[in-house]
Amino acid sequence: MEPDFRIPLGDWVAVGLDWLITTLDGFFTAVRHVFVNAYDGLDWLLNAPPFWAVILVFAAIAWWASSWKLGIGTVVGFTVIAAVDQWDNAMHSMALVVIATVVAVVISIPLGIWAASSNRASGVIKPILDFMQTMPAMVYLIPALLMFRVGVVPGIIATIIFAMAPGVRFTELGIRGVDKEVVEAGHAFGSSPARILRQIQLPLARPTIMAGVNQVIMLSLSMVVIAGMVGAPGLGGEIVASLSRIDAGLGFEAGISVVILAIFLDRVTASLGSDKTAAVLQAA
């Protein structure tokens, strides 16, 4: 039975959104240009060289960050992607994931630091994160489409919003988990809060923060398919196409390529949180 009252929530949102789009049109256009240019640049960098050269670079990164085994696995995996004729799409998706991750991390780590430093901030940020993470991801696509038009940008924006939450959460968790006495020691010797953050809290929270970054990347990859629905080029578009044509073979080829990308990105970023690479990064 329908209740005899109706909250016109949808109308309010639509009106609000309309107002936002007309007033902030210039802003959205500017954002769109920035993202389009960044994406095009990275996409060109990944697609212009011959595929084997890019594979070698990926393998070298994997070897440096982790082990020669991951290096070899990388060569095999990406060769499979190229062999099933998904190379261009995979590189489009890679560019999208990298851009979205970088932006998400740049926003989420400072937010996490802020949340860790103030209970009030944490109390405000937490429910917003819950909202962002549980709202079905496709819902973001609609306003993103209206603001940024069809193409790669709404996909990137929706990905950022969806993937940002673990970055904030893990950063807050990591900083709050730093040994209280060590932080107290910093204060006791007269360090400023900024110095304590830089020299004690962030270095000690780094493994947790890197686990958060890893989660951001994984969530970004999971958004690749959804981004394909709004016209972002890449594996997502291919999967959407195979769904509409009920083409199981094409779907599997694109799907396995997503899996290979995911494994590569996961292993490389996970090992960036380990001590071995930490020593290298610190020395640099």
């Binding site: 040994d179 006495e181 060590v182 107290e184 020691a185 204060h187 006791a188 010797f189 007269g190 360090s191 400023s192 110095r195 020299q199 004690i200 270095p203 000690l204 610190q282």
Partner: protein, 444 residues
Amino acid sequence: MYESTQQEAPKETQPAPPGGPDIALRVSHVYKAFGKRPAEVVKRLKSGKSRAEVATLGTAAVIDASFEVNRGEIFVVMGLSGSGKSTLIRTLNGLWAPTEGSVVVGETDISKISDKELRKVRQRKISMVFQHFALMPHRTVLENAAYALEVQGVAKADRLARAEKVLSLVGLEDWGAKFPSELSGGMQQRVGLARALCAETDILLMDEAFSALDPLIRREMQEQLVVLQSELDKTIIFITHDLNEAMFLGDRIAVMRDGEIVQIGTPDEILTSPANDYVAQFVQDVDRTRVLTAGGVMEPPLAVVNLSGGPRNALRTMRDLQVSAAFVVDRRRMFHGVVRDRDVMALVEKHGSDLASAVRNGIEPVTPDTALNDLFGRAVESPIPLPVVDDAGRLVGALPRVTLLAALGNVPSTTGEFPVVEAATAPLPEQLVTAALAKTEGDA
């Protein structure tokens, strides 16, 4: 709020040295409350309410604490967990701001200054050693030790060189390149100590600094701290729940209970005249041998002969006291050694007149501040009581074994009855001595 057993107020009895006043740190009526309405908690406490009565408004961690710490002193704050001692020490360098009251470090009232000035005070005046060491695990031992200097803005080469020196002071000269996790607990705390010493502050706060260490290591660290303190002349405020530690380290001890300081006094005062039942119960289990000193339990020396009195006088004294040996002093009461009745009698029979030729100086005198702990071995080996001699070399007392035992049992130890010489050798028979004296009558 507390009873002080300290007799003299150092401020009045000691003139201030030219460098400035003699007080390193002054705490006046400090309250610290946690919870939703700390100010209200303090207000009610002041109007006479008890800690339990205000518990619904907040927790009163420190209640009306007042004390002064003299320059160069080890001041121990002792209490069980939850007594507020850790909160109290954190108000001393402003890690916690007191809810009410003032903390004056040197000349500065740190409850009245800005954050930036407070950081300066922490850099230059007051450093801290932590219970669980609080070292930075991602930095080497040397970098940890140099941390305070880094914060002060000392150039890298300079601060590392200085940190290296301090590390060798605490016995870690070869460990600078290691990471803290590669060191044992005791060594890590030495790094913690080195870091605090490196800051070159006058005041050192030590929060249960040795509590996390094994008993043997803890003892070693306590002894090392005492040595370092006497070399570097730091003012140390030491927090502990271990009464033995408090008694061993403290020049003065403040006993805390439920947020209040219940007694401030020297270890001897706390032990011998506890302010209330709580303190009395507390000190029941203390290892008295580490607290009580030779000076505190010694007896007046009875069998004392004068060097210039000659052998006949000495022999007569020993005969009258029925002892087989006596301490020898000169006119200024300087200690010279021990004479035995047999030797003196032989001297008398040979008509010798210089007592000095019979003096044996095999017995090493002890100083009044030696702990009883260090005396048992010597007392067992020595056939006669141990002579106690002050810094100038004057004989001030004697320690028979029975006195040591009496001190352990907390029975009044000065009976005055003890012959200065114990049963190891029986004194010469009285008639023999009298006869010898009579035979040589003409020598006197």
